[in-house]
């Protein structure tokens, strides 16, 4: 690990240190407050009557038995809800015909997936409303069901939405270079059908909502990633002027994209609170969570790559069949195209083209889950690269090196026109190989084979796109997102010199309270413990755009740095005035602002804030106070990258996979806090291991959710993941002053291909050269049987 060099942020040396998370004491000791911990006087409870059918007409709803139960206040159906419009979907891509079905808070006439809510029961007691919901009698008239997206595209398939006339929601393409020419000059063409199956977010804390309508104002506590979005949509859907809506995301126990959403339950509870004049609360059960908290992935990717005999890749085409599920939620149709932006991977492929077809099925909606389109891209690219190496008979790492984009520190435009900010892919791979010698693993393979164990090693060299986002690129006239990409921060220095940072991001486990405090502390010459980071309350800071897509540090952190820079500039003006020095000679050195050449001459932040709030002696015309806000809209995305390796042992008799080693080298620019990075990588890779080996949202052909509990939806536990080996390279980003890139999703983006490639490598001697996730023991055993020529 090279020492972090002096960067633009370095002031008193807190940036770059592995400071322990300020958040953890309250989390570890159970003193944190989640939605479920918050209760209000007069509070009522909500429960949802959900469809057991995947597709049906709602013939009748009889709530009389439920209403007759003690403590039941109301049962609402679609007809009762005077909500202004359907649930939001935020993508309107210019030049693309996008067919979007209506998605109401409560189903209107028909249900489209198991779990589709048809009635809302509100009553005095958390348990009683669940009992009452069972007493609501709904008569369903089942309709034909389609769950396979490829079948849904065929003529004569049942239609999920008759009104759309088709299950195809849209087609979208992105590409550049001469694809036909590229394939024409290829000596070898490899084609694979890569299935990237559906998975859940699996956050520890389920969703929860508490809505209070009081004195013409609405306050909503929600376990959400996006309190600012939620406030906006509550205002629009319920017709309440925005300034009278407050959303608080209290402690949020993980989300992984699944709480980047405007959910029916949030709107419904807020509506019911206004209707009944009482606070209304709902906390999701785990079974509800797996059913109606949005899923992710679910792509079938047809990959075709052409290469010359020497390994030079000449063309790459991908057709993505994306299963959107029954409805388009906030970002549903926008996620699969996100794969397209990084389809060049880390390679200088001259012609790359991606076609996306979005399809409706009778399953719950897919949307952003950790990585959101980029894990799918990295998976198909990096699995296919190793397939190509096999086809060429070429070393897998040599093939990668042959095609790497050479190191660059200024933007590099790929064939598809995306400008990567900076990269050094060879450097990351070299660093990886300092930790593992592939030749050594080859030796181990032979040794273990005698004991019936098949060892394999897999690699992934990846890049991804994050730091959402430059508004001009993603906004209404660009990619078509109906919103901006900037972030806000306010740095408020108190009279005693302690500091509050209000960030417009909304962390839910990432560690902003620590990392952001380090950034601000360095700018202002204080200790990070004196910088409190406030987030997740729309009433306390400026409008913000919340946390998702590994954007917080590169956009929100930069906004915080810039707000702190403004405070520092004012502080320097005050100090220059009071000490008769030149402001340009003043800088933070240690725990105070001092004048260059005169280390004894200076002021602490507390002294400056004293002067700012007792403004007897400020420069002429300067306003009192020490409180600054910055809104930062980045010029470009940032593109983290890295190189991962995994070693697995496969037991060919049972098909079991054991992960022996997992090594991750990631580059997210100069580290603000290496411990936070490690934590993100550990969690991200665990998610990827989960998808590769264990986790799977599965519906049967009738649209019933088969994996509806954590018994069947198999999240890996500590016993199933190895002790991770992590390292970093640090390539500065030219995009922001901190020179940083995001890292919250990197492990997930890199990991599934790494594990899959390792398993395929282990199985190659058994005649298995390709296998789709999840790499379950049975699937592996069957593949081995098939390769032997026996029954599968």
């Amino acid at each position: 690990m090279s020492a972090t060099t002096e960067t633009a942020t370095a002031g008193n040396g807190h940036v770059g240190r592995a400071i322990r998370r300020k958040e953890d004491p309250r989390l570890i000791t159970g003193r944190a407050s989640y939605v479920d911990d918050i209760n209000l006087t007069g509070q009522l409870w909500a429960a949802w009557v959900r469809s057991p059918e995947a597709h049906a007409k709602v013939v009748s709803i009889d709530a009389s038995a439920a209403l007759a139960r003690e403590g039941v206040r109301a049962v609402f159906t679609h007809e009762d809800l005077d909500i202004e419009s359907t649930l939001p979907m935020a993508w309107a891509p210019p030049g693309v015909e996008l067919k979007t079905p209506d998605h109401w808070v409560l189903a209107k006439g028909e249900v489209k997936h198991v779990g589709d809510p048809v009635a809302l029961v509100v009553g005095d007691d958390r348990y009683a409303v669940v009992d009452a919901a069972e007493d609501v009698t709904v008569e369903f008239d089942p309709l034909p069901v389609v769950t396979d997206p490829e079948a849904a595209l065929e003529d004569g398939s049942p239609l999920v939405h008759d009104a759309l006339g088709t299950n195809k929601a849209y087609e979208w393409s992105l590409g550049g270079g001469d694809l036909d020419g590229g394939f024409a000059e290829a000596d070898v063409i490899v084609e694979r059908r890569v299935v990237n199956h559906r998975m859940a977010g699996g956050a520890i804390e389920p969703r929860g909502v508490l809505a209070e309508w009081r004195a013409d104002k609405l306050t909503v506590w929600s376990s959400t990633q996006v309190p600012h979005f939620l406030r906006l949509h509550l205002s629009l859907l319920l017709g309440i002027s925005e300034e009278r809506v407050r959303v608080i995301a209290p402690e949020v126990g993980g989300a992984f994209g699944s709480k980047l959403q405007i959910y029916a339950e949030e709107i419904g509870c807020a509506w019911a609170s206004r209707k009944l004049g009482r606070p209304v609360k709902w906390v999701e059960t785990r079974s509800e969570g797996l059913m109606v908290t949005h899923h992710g992935r679910d792509q079938i990717d047809y990959v075709k790559v052409g290469a010359k005999r020497d390994g030079t890749i000449t063309a790459w085409h991908t057709k993505i069949i994306a299963d959107l599920g029954a409805y388009q939620m906030l970002l549903t149709p926008l996620i699969p195209p996100c794969s397209g932006f990084v389809m060049c991977g880390v390679y200088k492929t001259p012609a790359v083209h991606t076609d996306v077809i979005g399809v409706h099925t009778n399953k719950f909606a897919t949307d952003a889950i950790r990585g959101a389109g980029r894990p799918e891209a990295a998976h198909l690219i990096e699995v296919t690269i190793e397939q190509l190496a096999g086809e060429l008979g070429m070393d897998r790492l040599e093939l990668r090196r042959k095609n790497f984009i050479p190191p660059f520190s200024e933007p590099y435009e790929t064939a598809i026109g995306v400008a990567y900010d900076s990269g050094n892919y060879e450097g990351a791979l070299d660093k990886l190989l300092e930790h593992i010698d592939p030749a050594e693993v080859e030796g181990e393979k032979a040794e273990l084979r005698d004991r019936g164990i098949y060892r394999g090693i897999g690699f992934c060299t990846y890049t991804e796109i994050c730091g959402n986002a430059p508004t001009r690129a993603i906004g209404p006239s660009g990619f078509g997102l109906q919103g901006g990409g900037w972030e806000s921060a306010t740095v408020r220095v108190h009279a005693t010199g302690s500091v509050t940072l209000y960030t417009g991001t909304s962390p839910h486990g990432q560690g902003h309270e620590t990392g952001f405090a380090q950034i601000v502390a360095d700018k202002l010459g204080v200790d990070p413990s004196q910088v409190d980071v406030i987030h997740g309350d729309t009433q306390t800071g400026p409008f913000g755009l919340d946390t998702y897509g590994s954007r917080s540090l590169a956009v929100g952190g930069e906004a915080a740095a810039r707000a702190a820079d403004k405070v520092a500039a004012k502080a320097k003006a005050i100090i220059a005035h009071q000490l008769e020095a030149d402001p340009s000679d003043i800088a933070v050195r240690g725990d105070k602002f001092t004048v260059a050449g005169s280390p004894d001459k200076g002021m602490t932040l507390a002294e400056v804030s004293g002067a700012a709030y007792v403004p007897e002696n400020l420069p002429d015309g300067m306003e009192p106070g020490l409180d600054e806000t910055s809104f930062y809209d980045p010029e470009n995305f940032v593109f983290p990258f890295g190189a991962h390796a995994c070693v697995v042992d496969v037991d060919p008799e049972t098909g079991n996979v054991e992960i022996v080693r997992y090594i991750a080298v990631d580059d997210c620019g100069p580290a603000i806090n290496p411990m936070l990075i490690d934590g993100q990588v550990h969690g991200g890779v665990t998610h990827a291991i989960g998808q590769a080996l264990f986790e799977r949202i599965h519906y049967d052909e009738d649209g019933q959710l088969v994996t509806g509990t954590f018994v069947d939806y198999a999240l890996p536990s500590a016993a199933e993941v190895p002790s991770f080996e992590t390292d970093r390279t640090e390539t500065p980003s030219p995009v922001n002053s901190l020179q940083v890139k995001g890292v919250g999703e990197a492990g997930t983006i890199a990991g599934s291909a790494t594990v899959t490639n390792a398993v395929i490598d282990a199985l190659r001697p058994l005649g298995v050269d390709y296998i789709n996730m999840p790499l379950s023991p049975m699937r592996i055993w069957e593949a081995i049987q098939e390769a032997k020529g026996g029954p599968a």
């Binding site: 958390r126 009992d131 079974s287 049972t654 264990f694 536990s717 016993a719 199933e720 029954p791």
Partner: protein, 280 residues
């Protein structure tokens, strides 16, 4: 995750528990560790109207050795796993779910629940043990072979309480346990337990093989046992016997395991359990 309404009593004697069970009628259930029953209730797959909690009934907890071993029904899995003299039962108990579950779950509860995917029923079958049950009309013993009737169904009467699990002296037998699951905390996809007694000439004097999750109840792999009994305990004969492990079974398929795969696993795991039993 929110169970239907139920009543709850905590009797302080076995007689009081039996009376509560009778008064509660057919929808009354006994609560031991609760780690099978409560999840079913939370999913509303079970909706008992009364839970009779056995935690304050004296005399149901603890392990007594007297040649044979008597394990109180309320003995926690952790206690069973921690007593090496219990041999196979301890070996299998140590693999149950995770430490939290082993700290709460009980041997009696697990056996009375009759889940073919649980570890203890096949162990009891292979050991040819029995259970002692008490009803209001008195006490009786049920041999393991007569206990497991069908999926989640045992030959205990509605008004009876399982009080002890009785394990014969198996010190002459070596034991092995081979369990396969996706995650360490999961129920067995398939598990095989083996008890093997060597004759003085080194051949197999006796062998018992129990199968977990290979049917609607725990099973004995009788064909494999017959194939090995009296034979030399070498690799060839062990492998040949193990090939018979799935004979006569029709394990139900699920998402993660087809019937054929489970039968294959039974054969592989049987060989491994036998090898472990023989110290291999």
């Amino acid at each position: 995750m929110i169970p239907a309404e139920f009543d709850y009593v905590v009797p302080e004697s076995l007689d009081a528990a039996l009376a509560a069970l009778r008064e509660g009628g057919e929808d009354a259930k006994l609560l031991a560790g609760g780690h099978s029953l409560l999840p079913l209730m939370k999913l509303r797959l079970a909706t008992p109207t009364l839970l009779v909690d056995l935690r304050k009934v004296p005399g149901l907890d603890g392990i007594q050795h007297n040649g044979a071993t008597t394990v109180g029904a309320m003995t926690r899995h952790h206690a069973v796993a921690s007593d090496p003299s219990l041999g196979l039962a301890a070996r299998a108990a140590a693999t149950i779910a995770d430490q939290q579950v082993r700290n709460r779950g009980t041997i009696g509860g697990s056996i009375a629940h009759g889940d073919p995917a649980s570890d203890m029923p096949a162990v009891l079958l292979a050991a040819e043990g029995s259970v002692t049950v008490r009803g209001e009309s008195g006490e009786r013993q049920i041999a393991a072979a007569d206990l497991f009737q069908d999926y989640l169904t045992t030959s205990l009467d509605e008004g009876e309480v399982l009080t002890t699990v009785n394990l014969p002296d198996m010190t002459q037998f070596g034991h092995g346990y081979a369990k396969f699951n996706r995650r360490i905390e999961d129920w067995a996809m398939v598990a095989v337990c083996a008890l093997v007694k060597r004759a003085p000439d080194g051949s197999c004097e006796d062998v018992r093989i129990g199968l977990t999750n290979m049917g609607s109840t725990a099973l004995r792999a009788t064909a494999a046992e017959q194939a090995l009994r009296g034979q030399p305990l070498d690799a060839q004969h062990i492998a040949a016997a193990a090939e018979q492990a799935a004979e006569g079974t029709e394990p139900p398929a699920d998402l993660n395991a087809s019937s054929e795969y489970k039968r294959h696993l039974a054969r592989v795991l049987c060989r491994r359990a036998l090898e472990e039993a023989l110290g291999g």
